[in-house]
Amino acid sequence: MSDALKLYDAELSSRLMLGTSLYPSPAIMADAILKSKAGVVTVSLRREAGNSRAGQSFWSLVKGLNTHVLPNTAGCHSVKEAVTTAQMARDVFETNWIKLEVIGNQDTLQPDVFGLCEAAEILCRDGFDVFPYTTEDLSVAEKLLRCGCKILMPWGAPIGSGRGLNNTFGLRSMRAHFPDVPLIIDAGLGVPSHAAAAMEMGYDAVLLNTAVAKAGDPVAMAQGFALAVEAGRLSYLADAMEPRDMAFPSTPVIGQPFGKDSFGA
């Protein structure tokens, strides 16, 4: 059975999306991406320090990984900054995909959802395939879809916090409310079980960076996340049992020895 994930014009076999920041070295980053078979990697545009040409070697390395590239607008705090950064990213990375971040608070890095919707509308009209980093707020989600977004990326927890799924009720509501929209948990995951929980809820994919890059062994952690994503997805597709409050024996009670029908009963 094919279980490919369709994101705009692409079909992906992996539901793990990885960031490329914060790794101990470029080689470890590349190894983590390759060994986890991540379907998408995120990248950014930045000013280059001095004449290092580090950007060119980074880009050559990423291109060699043969995976989909999702540029971001990380660090943008205004609609204007985000739109201009997206346009610049399209010029460099030659893709219409953009992970749209408009940051609203420096402590929590939570999205400015008003600016996000405004920027999403401009970019969708300009032909971008927008991946909006948003919250689990349903009215914001509705607005983003009306603007032309075909994917939503609610946060699990603040970026880089590793806290997992902070608002499972809200995330479940979002999944139930938009059954046909690809939903990706973006940000806040810390360990593979967080990813498995998101996938068991029916989320279509997870996007993370810090949890892998800052692990003691990023390559092993990337593989751990890949397995968790697969396990969670299989669990969701398999239609898990309903939990019960009381015990129910799994071993047959018929034929049990020393029961009430024995001489001693």
């Binding site: 960031g19 580090a54 980074f58 540029p71 990380a74």
Partner: protein, 71 residues
């Protein structure tokens, strides 16, 4: 360098003087001609094809960005 031809601009937040009249000239002057970059002038995106026709004037703020790690 003739003082009347010099322009004082900002590149990536740093003040700089340039003799270049166009953005493509500035890119060459800064040794970015053979590298993959994206450009903006005064917070407006300038596509690769438009760098030749984009004039540089005193007080302009230029951004030259390169691919980098991102989350």
């Amino acid at each position: 360098m003739r003082p009347d031809l010099k322009k004082r601009i900002k590149v990536n937040g740093n003040f700089q003087e340039t003799m270049s009249d166009t953005l493509s000239g500035l890119v060459i002057e800064l040794d970015y001609a053979d590298t993959i970059i994206a450009t903006a002038k005064n917070q407006e995106f300038v596509r690769y094809a438009d760098r030749d026709s984009t004039k540089i004037a005193d007080g302009d703020e230029i951004e030259i960005l390169v691919p980098m790690q991102g989350g």
